[in-house]
Symmetry: C2
Subunit: 318 residues, 2 copies
């Protein structure tokens, strides 16, 4: 990486603020491409999350409003060419700093983990019952993506799992993924939410190749960190690595050099959930997106109805 | 009104911008009180409306985002002591100016009117069937408040009317209103949405006293203006007056002197819908609020479950 960019990157990492200047410079110098942009409805969704986070963590009504005004100001000023996840990462930082709370969804994460871990053996049985364990494992992993504080929090987990796993996997990525996973020396697996980690574990332990499981370096939304991956026992089935970033999704220019090198060296990447799709959708055909479609914008973009499971291969780099 | 305030008011009316300085000065000089404040969730709702309005009226995606950034900026800067309706009035002005469209919900209003006017005779029959025409008329008028572009737009109108009219009127305002309406020389009726106007007409023609029917002076959301009231035939049953303002609800300090005098001189006011409640809730016990509860914030504030019809007397001035 050029020295000029390296210096700017250090400053950004220290402050946690990744401005637009840095993003543009990075893309120019590395030849990277923009990820999914933000749509009008995304602002509503990001702000709704902010209201939830602020009310959950801050009893002082004046500070609630002050914090939300800062969030509104951030949304008004931020570059709309950023992905929704990158913007949500920034508004999360604003909230954390304004109310002085680092982990905004701690209670949700604890209850999501507890809710998921009790189904560990049931999920294993569900996988073994299938004649196509790879397809079934992918479906189980994607079904775990229902666990979410952004789009829904009122559901019966096991009922959802049984319903969604009985559906077809949309997105036409299955056969290409099957071929690749039998050829490559290792799989880079981009984690998503706490609780979903348990579903990931069940899928990963059914695979025959080494897996690197990438988690966030700090708490953002209900995304899994090292601690959460350990709680789900991922260390027993994969090597856990950190992205170096606190942003939702995987924003390469905000990640550590080490993670960027790992990404570059990985011939196959399984990217879990919506935020990873939003931030990784222009990284080529080695990336496969595995998620449950939970938002109308993504449903339209992927041309898959809401509630469906998707495995979709990334577009070729051009 | 003091000359100083009068001058400031002229400027505000000319520009359509009613700043915080003006509001504070007005309240100080007139001894008025603040209306319902804005809650965190209200910002989400107001912004969601803005997204809908912008997408409805502006095909240019860049202008959509630019306009929404202006709205976000307005929401970040505006005084949170204003009512949600006053803030929505301001964001509506920002949108109108940014995209150059005056009437953001014209198509919705046309279809709401058409949908409602075909039930005119059915509504009259429904009123006559009751042994208590005053209560039934109030319920019919409140049932018309389902017509709304903010909270819902997917319903069967007649089915909703029949269901809601069969429920009790909440809010314990019925007997006090019955007593007052038999004593006073005239009723000031604050209109709400287009289409709801047809329901208002059916109720008003069952009353024995003169009614002044107050509409907005310009298009905002789907609120009724003079043209809309005429289309519903209100002129055949009441005298139509304008508030002098484009804001949703009835914000006295933004209204014309003539309307302010009428309000002051009216011994009984029937205030229709949520926006009028938000902006009139501190105007004393001569105001009765008639609405369908459509938002969680108001449901909690009024202690009435969502979907119910309410007639509630204002609190005494102190």
């Amino acid at each position: 990486m050029p020295a000029r960019l390296q210096k700017l990157l250090s400053i950004c990492r220290e402050t946690g603020k990744f401005g637009n200047t840095f993003r543009k410079l990075f893309l120019k110098l590395t030849g990277g491409k923009n990820s999914m942009k933000t749509y009008p409805e995304c602002y509503t969704c990001i702000f709704r999350q902010a209201v939830t986070a602020v009310k959950l963590n801050c009893p002082d009504q004046n500070l609630q409003i002050q914090t939300l005004q800062k969030v509104l100001n951030t949304l008004a000023e931020i570059d709309d060419k950023l992905s929704p996840s990158a913007i949500a990462g920034e508004t999360n930082r604003v909230i954390r700093e304004s109310i002085g709370v680092d982990d905004l969804y701690q209670a949700d994460k604890i209850s999501s983990h507890k809710n998921a871990i009790r189904y560990l053996d049931d999920l294993r049985t569900l996988l073994k019952q299938s004649q196509d364990p790879l397809e079934q494992g992918l479906k189980i992993s994607a079904a775990g993506n229902i666990i979410d504080i952004v789009h829904a929090n009122d559901y019966d987990l096991w009922e959802e799992v049984e319903t969604t796993v009985s559906q077809d996997l949309q997105g036409e990525g299955l056969e290409a993924f099957r071929k690749k996973v039998n050829e490559v020396p290792h799989l880079l697996y981009l984690a998503d939410n706490v609780g979903e980690t348990v579903f990931d574990r069940v899928f990963i332990e059914s695979l025959d190749i080494p897996v690197m499981y990438a988690v966030k370096s700090g708490p953002v939304l209900n995304d899994a960190t090292l601690k959460d991956a350990l709680a789900a026992g991922i260390d027993q089935v994969a090597e856990i690595v950190e992205t170096g970033s606190w942003a939702p999704g995987t924003i390469l220019y905000q990640s550590s050099d080490k993670f960027q090198q790992l990404f570059k060296a990985s011939p196959l990447v399984l990217s879990k959930g919506q935020a990873n799709y939003e931030t990784m959708d222009e990284q080529g055909e080695k990336v496969f997106f595995l998620l449950r479609v939970k938002c109308p914008v993504l449903s339209e973009r992927l041309n898959v109805p809401l509630g469906n499971l998707v495995l979709k291969q990334g577009n070729p780099l051009n």
